[in-house]
Amino acid sequence: MSKRMVQFSIYRYDPDKDDAPYMQDISIELEPTDRKLLDALTKLKAKDDAISYRRSCREGVCGSDAMNINGKNGLACLTDIDSLKQPIVLRPLPGLPVIRDLIVDMTQFFKQYHSIKPYLINNDPPPERERLQSPEDREELNGLYECILCACCSTSCPSFWWNPDKFVGPAGLLAAYRFIADTRDQATNERLDNLEDPYRLFRCHTIMNCVDVCPKGLNPTKAIGKIKDMMVRRAV
């Protein structure tokens, strides 16, 4: 791959200076070694150091650089530049308050995550070494524990846009099922009670935007379906 010019259209907003957000057209010459969108953002920041975004691990583990890329949420560090149509339109994650440029306030997202008690609840005295699971029981947690909380899914969900204060959202519900499914957890009933509400779980209408955007290839809709299934089995 050779050197190439890449066109960008980036959402800019600095509440200290700007009256309103605007889209900035900017282009940058990339080296053959610049493969991921985050590489280009690093170059852009070198050119205009006011451009603000979050990043940390640059390899799809920390979930910091989630943004709306050409209309679809994703991680900049995992997105190939050459797979994107130009100009590459970058916007902050939809539905959350913008702090500056591509940085959003994730408070609401993490509030929902905390509301499902994302930790093991087990009141038995701890065993000497560890709480063991059978390999089959452990198998159920695959596809659940890998979530990096980047918020791509929840911020692509219209139900979360309309009711971010009440609907837990796909990321939170995936985490909820991760603990409901854990055979070492003893609070299954309380967890199901906590979600049996017209808002917290049942705002999900299975449109599967979450599955479409998850950069880790997880399936929150399936987890939500399993929670509903457990509620039905408990009730009838």
Binding site: S159, W162, N163, D165, K166, D193, N194, L195, E196, D197, P198, Y199, R200, L201, F202, R203, H205, K228, M231, V232, A235, V236
Partner: protein
């Protein structure tokens, strides 16, 4: 009153199951009524009236309408929940929706049994 976010009304599952159950009833009725009309092939007003004078057709048609209205209640309420935030306005819309749907139910019964 402190304006805290309140969740925890325990009717989510019931309505979710009801919406699916009523959908199944409507789907079964749709197949049933098409089959009945294909077999009896009523031509003209008198013949249609005779079909709907049958007891089991009346029963299933009424069941269909009740299912439709219950299904619609959950769906319309979802719309109010998503888009209408002020509690007073939302409650008024809920009451109006229920009033309309109960009215429709009575109306459907009146038509079917020609009260």
């Amino acid at each position: 009153m402190i304006n805290r976010i309140l969740v925890g009304a325990h009717y989510g599952l019931k309505d979710w199951i009801a919406q699916r159950a009523t959908a199944v009833i409507m789907a079964v009725y749709s197949v049933l009524i098409v089959a009945v009309l294909l077999v009896l092939r009523p031509a003209g007003f008198e013949a249609w009236q005779a079909v709907f004078a049958l007891g089991f057709i009346k029963f299933f048609t009424f069941l269909f309408f009740v299912s439709l209205f219950y299904h619609a209640w959950i769906g319309v309420r979802d719309i109010w929940m998503d888009y209408v935030k002020p509690t007073g306005l939302r409650l008024s819309l809920h009451v109006l929706t229920i009033a309309a749907l109960v009215g429709y139910t009575a109306w459907a019964a009146a038509i079917l049994w020609r009260l």
